[in-house]
């Protein structure tokens, strides 16, 4: 099928990509805030299922696409220190949020339960980040493997 010619010039294309990128992140963070607010408002799992599914699809799409393209972080060097910082922020965020949630639920030992969940998130984040870095590195090695110049540029 013949691709329709774009009405935009190069600069407009770049601007549109930027607008679409901002739209993606707006949807991502907006959904996250809505989900957290709904959890605090004591909504049932069924009530927030739609938002959860879209949120996870957005996240998984981003991670899988980046792994496939072999594109790592734009600015950060994903070393052990960075992974620990990212995981700590995630763990701390979950610990604080869960503590607030359990306090609002009048549960027993809300801070302890929040901390345990935060620690779990920290460990899980560390593992996922390490896995992500390894997959991206492996993909980059595959993509950057030198092709044979004698052959056609199919391995471009």
């Amino acid at each position: 099928m013949k691709r329709k010619k774009s009405n935009l010039d190069e600069l407009q294309e770049l601007k549109l990509l930027k607008i679409e990128s901002r739209g993606y992140w707006l949807a991502f963070w907006g959904l996250m805030i809505v989900i957290l607010a709904e959890i605090l408002a004591n909504e049932t799992l069924q009530a927030i299922m739609g938002e959860l599914v879209v949120f996870f699809v957005l996240g998984i799409y981003m991670v899988v696409s980046r792994c496939f393209a072999g594109i790592g972080e734009r600015k950060w060097d994903m070393n052990r220190k960075t992974i620990l910082i990212i995981s700590s922020i995630a763990g701390l965020g979950v610990a604080v949020f869960e503590s607030i949630f359990f306090i609002m639920q009048s549960s027993n030992q809300p801070c302890l339960r929040g901390t345990v969940n935060g620690l779990g998130t920290f460990v899980l984040s560390c593992l996922l980040c390490v896995l992500y870095v390894r997959v991206v590195k492996r993909r980059q090695d595959t993509l950057n493997a030198e092709p044979d110049d004698e052959k056609d540029d199919t391995n471009a």
């Binding site: 980059q140 993509l143 950057n144 493997a145 030198e146 110049d149 540029d153 471009a156």
Partner: protein
């Protein structure tokens, strides 16, 4: 359109795509896609490639007519 001039110049200098990519400050994949005509580089990247290959922009990227670069 494939950029055969760039590919031939690189081979003339006995340079791999990886070496050229390193000199131009991009990934090997980018060089491969430019040579295959699947990616249009920015003028800054064209200049970096020309510097790495010791040629001018005209030598690699100018087409006097459509026959100079191989059409897909």
């Amino acid at each position: 359109m494939r950029n055969l001039k760039m590919k031939f110049r690189r081979i003339e200098l006995n340079m791999s795509q990886t070496e050229l990519a390193k000199r131009a400050g991009v990934t090997r994949q980018t060089i491969g896609l430019i040579e295959a005509g699947e990616f249009n580089p920015s003028i800054n990247l064209c200049i970096a490639i020309c510097r790495a290959l010791e040629v001018t922009l005209n030598d690699l990227f100018w087409e006097a007519n459509g026959n100079e670069t191989e059409k897909e």
